[in-house]
Symmetry: C2
Subunit: 310 residues, 2 copies
């Protein structure tokens, strides 16, 4: 195999009670990438379509992640990367993660899979650091592993693969506003009440349990964020109305995707997801904020191979 | 049935990363209680052996819990209660909870089980409030449900029954010192760093996952408390030495049981539990603090019926 085409999905991080550690993988929305072996060593980004991003490897998240991998692997060849971006940077559904994860996933395939998923996550984190200023894996892990993932720790890196109930759907609404990650971070307090922290870890425990036993109502009772949402939701206009609209249609949970501005909901079944999507659209339709929505089953596979040359 | 004899076990609350919500049930150590229907209505405590506790029903946790139940049930009879206490009050393994849980469990059996385990937990919390000043269920739930329990919320009361891996043992060491619950509470900060809270809920999530898949090494990597232990461990002399001794023998985790002074460890298998128990004993043997230890498999049944008159 000398060439591979992959689909690298969008992901949701900061899932309610799992702020900073829990994420899940979307389907249908994601970047496509083609990666090719080259006789010349090193990483070259030969094409970027969709959004205007740097094509110098050391300044592009996909390039930096790939460089981290080949520095370790020391292969006898190099790689060129074409990126067809569909995930808008800054939308809150892991745009930079998708690029970083996709490049290391593809190169690993071309090299005959020398690395584990956890190792790929580690390399992709180097790319993510370029975009966000710090190495974190809460968008990368769900993209590489699929389904729900818990980044138990980053040093040493430990990713826990959680089970995904079969009938779980996600709906995303992306209001076309800009939230600076730096602002989203600055708004968070350094210290939080112990009382709220206890509520959060009780919900985290029951959410993991509920995912294991596919108890949708317990998932609903657990998808509560008493720590971060009260601060960050202020940055997203009409957040509370969207949330209320989603709950009125039976959504299991609703929260800020990543650091926003996208809002995610989790739903039981496609019919509920469609109704929730309509209700969320309805809220923003009455404003002058442009937006788009999409819904999908939780993607339990993660990055997918679309084509190879052998 | 007019008479029942039960065993109400000791329990461990505040299990490492699950401070205030996670508990588990011990075996072999617990109180025995005999409860009898009487023609005369109301609750009478007719005997207390083992420790000097009030036998006026409204001043005894078993009595208060029983009164809460009969106020709701309005039975045509009353009950007399004999308490044979083996769990020393103030030892940190749920002495008051065992009395409160035992009395409502026994009365529920005598009445033909009108109440669910969650309802019994609710009544027992009324008794617990007498002992500790606030209604909490983190010792009561594991006694009534058995195994590992997560008190997801107290208002409304929701207890989540977690799975217990088959080869999980607990070792307890009880140094005979007094820690006032008020002091153990006062030493805790009202606010904690968000960073530590995140670590705690990541560990909580991975612990619940590890219990589901019986991954003992993941249990070990998750049984970490970065929030409460650093404060409360100061109240227990030789705590760090005991912990180190337990880990040197392979213990999966070690923490403060309840608000102390008992220290618990969790172990994989009986042989490891025996070695850990010896190592913990060794530490306190070199001090002038009296202590006792015991070890057992996790009790997945909870309160047990020892005898009935029919």
């Amino acid at each position: 195999m000398t060439e591979i085409k992959i689909f690298s999905p969008a992901t949701v991080a900061n899932v309610s009670c799992g702020f900073d550690v829990l994420g899940f993988c979307l389907d249908g929305i994601g970047d496509e990438m083609i990666v090719r072996k080259t006789p010349e060593k090193g990483i070259k980004i030969t094409k970027i379509k969709g959004y205007d991003l740097p094509n110098e490897a050391t300044k592009n998240v996909a390039g930096v992640a790939a460089l981290a991998l080949i520095e370790d692997a020391q292969p006898d060849c190099g790689f060129e990367i074409e990126i067809y971006k569909n995930i808008k940077p800054g939308s809150g559904v892991g745009s930079s993660s998708a690029s970083a994860s996709g490049s290391v996933f593809a190169i690993n395939e071309l090299l005959g899979r020398p690395y584990s998923k956890t190792q790929l996550t580690y390399f992709a984190m180097k790319g993510e650091a370029l975009a966000s200023g710090s190495e974190h894996a809460d968008n990368i892990a769900p993209g590489i592993f699929g389904g729900f993932t818990l980044v138990k720790s980053t040093v040493p890196l430990e990713v826990v693969e959680l089970p995904t109930p079969n009938d779980l759907f996600a709906v995303i609404i992306h209001p076309q506003i800009e939230i600076k990650t730096s602002e989203a971070r600055a708004i968070l307090p350094k210290d939080i009440p112990l009382k709220n922290a206890i509520t959060q870890w009780a919900n985290m425990g029951s959410l993991v349990h509920a995912l294991h036993i596919s108890d949708y109502q317990m998932i609903k009772r657990s998808l509560i964020d008493v720590v971060v949402e009260p601060y960050r939701s202020r940055l997203i206009p009409h957040y509370n109305e969207v949330k209320l609209a989603a709950f009125n249609k039976g959504a299991l949970g609703c929260g800020i995707s990543g650091s926003g501005p996208s809002i995610f909901t989790l739903c039981q079944g496609q019919i509920q997801a469609e109704q929730v999507e309509l209700a969320m659209r309805e809220v923003y339709s009455q404003t002058d904020i442009a937006f788009n929505t999409y819904s999908c089953k939780i993607n339990t596979t993660g990055i997918k191979i679309l084509a190879t040359d052998s």
